[in-house]
């Protein structure tokens, strides 16, 4: 799929197919992502949505095909189910491990950021993962079920942050089980074992 946006390409995926423990999840898929684009990726349980994001984040090596980011593009990955943070450290301490810049939380209260992650609720963990990813200022952000445990207010704030990111020339891929609001999504597609389908205006299959 290539997204019809009049801006530069940031990610190109060519014939990628992934497996987990020898079990093939999806057939070869190809798409590209331009700057300013927010993609929504839907699909049933176990089809490989999360695995696809982990492949693109460089965390899952059991795949065939190729993908590449344009020079200078950096990648961020945040998940709503696995925080990827040290549970006994606070968010400030977790951020300190990956960044030397000062950190001001956007979606969480500063007081909360001083508490160990293990005391966070599921929604707060998802936001903490997002905050930690955000501080790295990635160009392409990969979000896996990030809104699953969020209340409406936090969800809207997160959508606004992603929308602003896309407007600044970044790009995002959302994996979700719920319908994402039309105002932030440029293209929607469904992942099945057979590949990608269901593209709406804003994108087309390659």
């Amino acid at each position: 799929m290539s997204v019809s946006a009049p801006t530069s390409q940031q990610l190109s995926v060519v014939n990628v197919a992934a497996s987990v423990a020898g079990h093939k999840l999806f057939s070869q898929i190809s798409f590209s992502v331009n700057s300013g684009v927010v993609l929504a990726l839907y699909g049933g349980n176990g089809v490989g949505k999360t695995t696809l994001l982990r492949v693109l984040a460089g965390l899952h090596r059991d795949y065939t095909g190729n993908f590449s980011y344009s020079p200078g593009v950096t990648v961020g990955f945040a998940s709503g189910s696995v925080s990827m943070l040290y549970e006994d450290l606070s968010l400030y301490e977790n951020v300190e491990l990956v960044s030397n810049t000062s950190f001001t939380p956007r979606l969480l209260s500063p007081a909360l950021c001083d508490r160990p992650i293990k005391h966070f609720s599921s929604g707060e963990r998802a936001l903490a993962a997002f905050e930690r990813m955000w501080v790295m200022q990635p160009t392409v952000i990969l979000l896996d079920e990030i809104t699953a445990h969020l209340d409406q207010k936090k969800r809207t704030a997160l959508f606004e942050a992603v929308k602003a990111h896309a407007k600044r020339g970044g790009a995002a891929i959302f994996v979700s089980h719920e319908e994402l609001p039309a105002y932030i999504v440029s293209a929607r597609f469904v992942l099945t074992a057979a590949g990608l389908s269901g593209i709406e205006p804003g994108g087309s299959l390659a």
Partner: protein, 224 residues
Amino acid sequence: MTGIFFCTVKLLRKDLIIETRRAELTVMSLMSVIGLSIILSYGVWLAGISQSQKMELAPALSLSVLFMAALSVIGKFSEYDEKSGALDGLLVAKVSSDALYLARVAAIFLLTSIAAFASGLVLPTLLGLVPSLLLSWHGALVFCGVSLGLASVGATLAPIAVRVRAGSIFLLTLMLPLVIPLFFASCEILSGNPSTRDFWWTLLAALDAVYLAAGLWLHPHVVR
């Protein structure tokens, strides 16, 4: 280079903060040292070994206790990393793999050094001996050399072991062939023939260097 150094220091600090808050691994290693020392000293007492024989045996027994205590906790660092995908979080953030490895070696080294100090103190005391290993420079140096070797091997292999079934047994199986030469070399230095001591010192230092270099080379492949 400076970047890797500061990153290593930050990651080591992280491990120490977590250990300070959890106090899990230090307590586990000290309990292992005390438990094994009690069992071994009881066995020595049952065998009716003379005081001079005890003095000859003490270094090897202390090192055995250290090895067993260290092996019981080395994998725990990586288990904790796997929990919540914290290591993945660092990898996505492009944290240097060399820094990750060196920080982990340093953390295991510190933990193993505490176990080494405890084993050098507790076992001789239970055997009714003066803990002389801790008072001699070459005793302390051998414990440091052994701790470094254990840390280098452990930091390399533990990330593999946490991803397989029966990981702790798997880790032990992988580590044993590599740490047994360390054990022999250190035993020979502490209680072997003084004329061959230089050879064993060289072997211990060479093993440490090889394990550390191999770990630095393998770690990026292992963690992914």
